[in-house]
C-alpha cells in the first residue's frame, strides 16, 4: 500500500473517530442514543438515509452490471428508487407517529404484548444481521482487491470501526458518519462523471459511439434483455426491490431521528433526490467504463465487474483518483454496516432487554448500559462470523434481505396501519409466514440447490433466484388468514379507532 492510499484511509478513519468522540458526549440518554432525540433536520436525515441505503454493492455492483449488461443494469436501480415512493406515501408518517425507537414500538402500539414484540425484534434482528454479514464479507474482498490488504485485516478494521461508532456514539455518530459518506460519495461520483464526459469533449454522440465499440454487445447494449433470461424472475426481483425498502428496519428507524412529520417528508424528499442523482451518475460511470476501458479489460481484471469504478478512476486519474475512489468505497461500507449495527442493537436492547426481559421497567441508565454492551456484542460476533464465512455466497444473502423484508415486516406494518379488522394473531401469523416462506423458498431455490456449484447439488425445487413474487403474497395471506381465523373481539375495533387517529394525525406522540 503506497503513501497516497494510506493518507486517504487515515484521513477517513480519523474524521469518523472525531465525529464519534463528539457524538459520544451527546449520547447520554437513551433517546439520544437510539434516535438522536429527533435533533436532525430533514435534509440531514435525507443524507443519512441515502448513506444508510447506498451500499458498496450498489456503488460498485451497479456500475459493473451496467458496464457488462447495459440497459438491464440500469433497470436495477429504478426499483431501488421507486421503493421510496412506497415508503413516503404509505409507511413513513404513520411509523414516525407511532414508534419511539424501534419497529416493535410501532406494531406494539396497536397490539401490545410480549409475543408481538418478540416477532418484531426477531424479524428486525434477522434482517439486519443477514444484511450486515455479507456487507462485511464483501468489504474484506473489496479491500483485498483494491489495496492488497489481507482479507481478515480488512474485515477486522471495518468491523472494529462500526462497533466503535455505535458503542460510543450511538445513532448520533452513525447519522453523521452516514452524512459524511453521502457527501464524499456524491462528490466523488460527480467528479468522476465529469471527467468521463470531458474525455469525449462533452460530445454525447462520440461517447455513445465509443460505448458501442467497447462492448461485445454492440448496438444491443442499449436494449433490454441481457441480464434476465426469465421474465418471471425479473418481475419477482422488481417486486421485492420496490416493496423491500418499506420493510427494512435500518432505514425505517431513521424516521425517528427527526422532530415532526414535516421533517419526515423533507428527509424522504432529500433522500430520493440524492439517491436518484446517484443512480444517474452510476449510469454515466458504467457507460464510461465500457467506452474508455472496454469490456475485455474490465472482465480481465475481475469477472464480476465489481472493479469497474475503481479501474475507471485509475485510467482517467491515475493512482491518486483510484485512492480517492477506494476511500469512498471504504466510507460507504462503514456507514452502511454502522446503520445495521444500530438497528440490530435497538431490536435487542430496547425490544428484548427493556420491554420483554425487564417488562419495560429498567431505568434509563440500565437501558443505556445494555444498549452499549449489545452494540459491542453484535459488532464483535458479526465480525467473527464474517471472518469465518469468507467463502459464503454474498449475493444470496443480500437478495435475501429484500425478499425477507418485503414479505414479513412490510405486510405486517401496512396492515397494522391501515386494516381495521387486523388483529394480533394475524400480525403474528403474518410475520411467521412471511419469514418462513421467504427463507424456505430461498433455500429451495437455485441459490442453494444448484446442479453446478450449489450447496445442495440437485435441481432447484423453486426455479427462482428471487422468490418475492411467491413469498410476498404468502406473507400477506398468512396475516389475513390468521386475522380471520381468530375470534373477532369487539375491543379490537375500539382500540383501532384511537390507534388510527394517532397514525393519521400524530396525536399523542411524545414531542422530542
Amino acid at each position: 500500500m503506497n503513501l497516497t492510499y494510506f493518507l486517504f484511509f487515515i484521513c477517513i478513519i480519523v474524521c469518523t473517530l472525531i465525529i464519534t468522540y463528539w457524538a459520544a458526549k451527546r449520547s447520554t440518554t437513551t433517546n439520544r442514543f437510539y434516535t438522536t432525540a429527533g435533533s436532525l433536520t430533514g435534509f440531514q436525515n435525507g443524507m443519512a438515509i441515502a448513506g444508510d441505503f447506498i451500499s458498496a454493492a450498489s456503488f460498485l455492483g451497479i456500475v459493473g452490471t451496467i458496464a457488462i449488461n447495459g440497459y438491464d443494469g440500469f433497470l436495477y436501480s429504478i426499483g431501488f428508487l421507486v421503493s421510496y415512493l412506497v415508503v413516503l406515501f404509505l409507511i413513513a408518517e404513520p411509523v414516525h407517529h407511532l414508534g419511539k425507537y424501534s419497529l416493535g414500538d410501532v406494531v406494539c402500539s396497536r397490539f401490545p404484548g410480549i409475543e408481538m414484540r418478540w416477532m418484531m425484534a426477531i424479524g428486525t434482528f434477522m434482517i439486519s444481521i443477514f444484511y450486515m454479514i455479507p456487507q462485511l464479507v464483501a468489504s474484506g474482498f473489496l479491500l483485498r482487491l483494491l489495496l492488497d490488504i489481507d482479507y481478515s485485516i480488512s474485515v477486522a478494521v471495518i468491523g472494529g470501526l462500526m462497533t466503535v461508532y455505535v458503542v460510543f456514539g450511538g445513532m448520533v455518530a452513525t447519522s453523521w458518519v452516514q452524512i459524511v459518506k453521502t457527501i464524499v460519495l456524491m462528490s466523488g461520483t460527480f467528479l468522476l462523471s465529469l471527467i468521463v464526459f470531458s474525455h469525449f469533449n462533452w460530445s454525447m454522440t462520440d461517447f455513445m459511439q465509443r460505448v458501442q465499440e467497447g462492448t461485445p454487445l454492440g448496438e444491443q447494449f442499449f436494449q433490454p434483455g441481457h441480464l434476465f433470461g426469465n421474465p418471471l424472475e425479473f418481475l419477482s426481483l422488481q417486486l421485492a426491490l420496490v416493496l423491500g425498502t418499506a420493510g427494512l428496519p435500518h432505514i425505517l428507524i431513521r424516521l425517528f431521528t427527526v422532530r415532526n412529520s414535516l421533517e419526515v417528508r423533507r428527509s424522504l424528499m432529500s433522500a430520493t433526490w440524492i439517491i436518484g442523482l446517484f443512480y444517474i451518475m452510476t449510469l454515466v460511470l458504467g457507460l464510461g467504463t465500457v467506452a474508455i476501458l472496454g469490456y475485455h479489460t474490465l472482465i480481465g481484471a475481475d469477472a464480476t465487474g465489481n472493479l469497474a469504478a475503481p479501474l475507471l478512476a485509475r485510467e482517467v486519474g491515475g493512482d491518486f483518483l483510484l485512492a480517492f475512489i477506494s476511500a469512498i468505497a471504504f466510507t460507504t461500507i462503514v456507514a452502511v454496516v454502522a446503520g445495521l449495527v444500530i438497528s440490530a442493537t435497538t431490536a435487542f436492547s430496547h425490544d428484548i432487554y427493556h420491554h420483554i426481559l425487564k417488562k419495560g421497567k429498567s431505568t434509563e441508565k440500565e437501558q443505556l448500559v445494555a444498549a452499549r454492551w449489545t452494540a459491542l456484542g453484535i459488532g464483535l460476533i458479526s465480525t467473527l462470523f464474517a471472518l469465518r464465512l469468507e467463502t459464503i455466497n454474498v449475493t444470496f444473502l443480500v437478495s435475501m434481505t429484500f425478499v425477507v423484508a418485503a414479505s414479513s415486516i412490510f405486510p405486517v406494518l401496512l396492515l397494522t396501519i391501515y386494516w381495521k379488522r387486523f388483529n394480533k394473531i394475524g400480525a403474528i401469523t403474518g410475520m411467521l409466514s412471511g419469514l418462513l416462506a421467504s427463507v424456505t423458498l430461498l433455500l429451495l431455490g437455485p441459490n442453494i440447490m444448484n446442479v453446478d456449484g450449489g450447496w445442495i447439488q440437485r435441481e432447484a425445487v423453486i426455479p427462482l433466484y428471487n422468490p418475492g413474487i411467491i413469498a410476498i403474497p404468502l406473507g400477506f395471506l398468512g396475516a389475513m388468514i390468521g386475522t380471520l381465523a381468530a375470534r373477532k373481539e369487539k375491543k379490537d375495533n375500539a382500540e383501532f379507532r384511537e390507534f388510527f387517529k394517532r397514525a393519521q394525525t400524530g396525536s399523542g406522540r411524545e414531542s422530542a
Binding site: 440497459y71 428508487l81 421510496y84 419511539k100 436494449q223 375491543k491 382500540e495
Partner: protein
C-alpha cells in the same frame, strides 16, 4: 403523554371519547380527503413502475428508436426518475395541508376529550 400511550386506559377513564372524534364530520372529511389523495397516486406509481419491466420482458416495441439512437426504453426509464421526483414534490405539498387539518382536529377535539 408517553409514546407508549395506553389507549384502553383513556377509553375506560373516558378521558377522550375517540368514538365521537371518529364520528365527527371534521375527522371523516379529513380521512376521506387523505384517502382520495393517497390511493390513486399509489395505484398510479405502482402501475407506472411495473409497466416498464412487463413491457421490456414480454414485448419489444419499446426498443424502437425515438430520435437518433435513443429508444423508448430509455425515455421510459428516465421518466421513472422524473415520476419519483414529481410525486415526491406533490406529496410534500399536499401533506402540509393535511398537517394543518390534523393539528386542528387534535386541538379542537382530542385535547378537549372529544366532547365538541
Amino acid at each position: 403523554m408517553s409514546a407508549q400511550h395506553d389507549y384502553a386506559e383513556d377509553l375506560r377513564d373516558k378521558k377522550v371519547d375517540y368514538e365521537a372524534v371518529e364520528q365527527s364530520s371534521q375527522f371523516k372529511r379529513f380521512l376521506d380527503n387523505k384517502k382520495k389523495f393517497i390511493v390513486p397516486f399509489t395505484v398510479f406509481f405502482l402501475i407506472f413502475y411495473f409497466t416498464l419491466p412487463v413491457l421490456t420482458s414480454y414485448t419489444t416495441f419499446l426498443n424502437t428508436p425515438v430520435f437518433g439512437d435513443i429508444s423508448w426504453v430509455w425515455i421510459f426509464a428516465f421518466a421513472q426518475f422524473v415520476m419519483v421526483w414529481v410525486l415526491c414534490t406533490i406529496y410534500v405539498r399536499k401533506a402540509a395541508s393535511f398537517d394543518k387539518k390534523a393539528q386542528k382536529i387534535i386541538n379542537e377535539q382530542i385535547n378537549k376529550g372529544g366532547r365538541t
